[in-house]
Symmetry: C2
Subunit: 323 residues, 2 copies
Amino acid sequence: MNNIDNIIKYLKGSNDYIVTSHISPDGDNIGSTLGIYYSLKKLEKNVYYVLDDNPPQNLKFLVKDINILKSSEVNLKDYSIIALDCGDKNRICLSDELIDNAKKIVCIDHHASNDSYGDFNYIDINASSTCELVYNLLVRFNETQNIDLIDEITATALYTGLVTDTGNFAYSSTHASSLEMAKELLLKGAKRDTIIQKVFQSNSYNYYKLLGEALNTLDIVDGKIASIMVTKEMLKRNAISFNDVDGITSYTRDIEGVEVGILLKEKKENEIKVSLRSKNYVDVSIIAQSFNGGGHVRAAGCTIYDSVENAKKQILEAVSKTI
Amino acid sequence: MNNIDNIIKYLKGSNDYIVTSHISPDGDNIGSTLGIYYSLKKLEKNVYYVLDDNPPQNLKFLVKDINILKSSEVNLKDYSIIALDCGDKNRICLSDELIDNAKKIVCIDHHASNDSYGDFNYIDINASSTCELVYNLLVRFNETQNIDLIDEITATALYTGLVTDTGNFAYSSTHASSLEMAKELLLKGAKRDTIIQKVFQSNSYNYYKLLGEALNTLDIVDGKIASIMVTKEMLKRNAISFNDVDGITSYTRDIEGVEVGILLKEKKENEIKVSLRSKNYVDVSIIAQSFNGGGHVRAAGCTIYDSVENAKKQILEAVSKTI
């Protein structure tokens, strides 16, 4: 029996589930978690959406009718965890206690760094997104169990994760299967226009002011490595949240001739979150791993505990070595 | 016989063709023109790509091996014109003489303002792009004539027009059929990563400097109308060409709550090209038409012959009336 069918069997056979995703949740996290959440609800299971971090502002439309619990609010005994889009057991956004006491962990993920930590694992590092894996699972559910779990609300959740993890079909991880899935989700009623507006077209005037400031820091080394900085003062001055500026990374990668783009985001003094993007040949996940981070070949991240200037020096040195 | 089959019959039955598109060519122009150009070549017809304007810089990769002629270089007698993506006979990018002396005009287009000026017309105003219409035509060719005209190079041309005219699948004109087409083109070998890099990820450092200056002019009226300006001094200072800044329009539309976004581009003194985008309910093609322009419901344009400040006043007044 393959991994998908094992998971389907397990989802049918048990009763109490916690669905969750990784810390600092993104669109693929929330979309894939909702895909499983709504499906388990339809199967009349007890399912709790538990997440210790808050969803980013532009994704709140997806979860406005969901009661997302914190770990401390959960009092369950005999439960399983479905961990979506978590490449590492330590990044599951739950308390250690909840993770350690779970009966079973089901892991559905597409991160290259995943070591198959689940009791059941459905991992495909070539998939565009975890939402694509959840879609495959639900299609298989339909084929084998004769129940169609993909309605309009589920289609909308999965479409969101697909577009956030592929830069709206721009990244090389977008396969023909991703476009087939997108087509089917549109036919199922995915609210595409709402998703596009909320995710990509709902920036604030302040955000563009911040962008202007960030563009002033744009710096290019040898024509191939571009970096940009967002300091905590810039965030404060423009009243923009730390979690809402990741899109600025694209202004580094999207310069002609640039292979690696870097965003340095100052979370607090001496804690710099670094986002890395590459275009063609540099595996940025390896660079991120050398700073105890992780991610994908073309998009990865890490944290450097130093000043923003020193963090920039360190990451530029590491990237220069691999280019 | 439907329009597509009539056109197929005509393309098979005649011998000498000029393929062309509208003035100020864009990705859908060039992609759809190439789609027909390569197909007629395969059918062993005499075909000339004639266009009196130059392709924009970021699309030159598509035509690097094509000898694009100017009207003055053409000396043909018995020829037909295939006009791609031209909503108006007056916008065909050829000399009047060439247009007037054509044996027949075949019009393939998706502009709402098209009055069916061709002798043969395949017009679908709901299509995402003219490339989608050319794709339908070539698929029909395959079905009825048993010849597969969509190879890797044609797939790449059509994919380019599809992504440029849909904002890479973001606009509401992106239908399930558009995603199906994109999937099939990927399977046919469309060079998607090259397209994305050339079209969306090949901005220059100077472009981002210009963007910073333009963001300084960002202005919002009643939270619903946003405008941004690019003057000829800004273009000159940053060595950016007039045809290469249309993407800046999105910085107006992509603000939360904004319904209409406006880019004012100063071509020369007292000649301002205005690009209009809307999100949900304003038909900007009507506003553009009131200034003798045209386009689509959500994306249109016109030219105002006045100073940039006065052009802004006029267009804001017109938009305010419709909102």
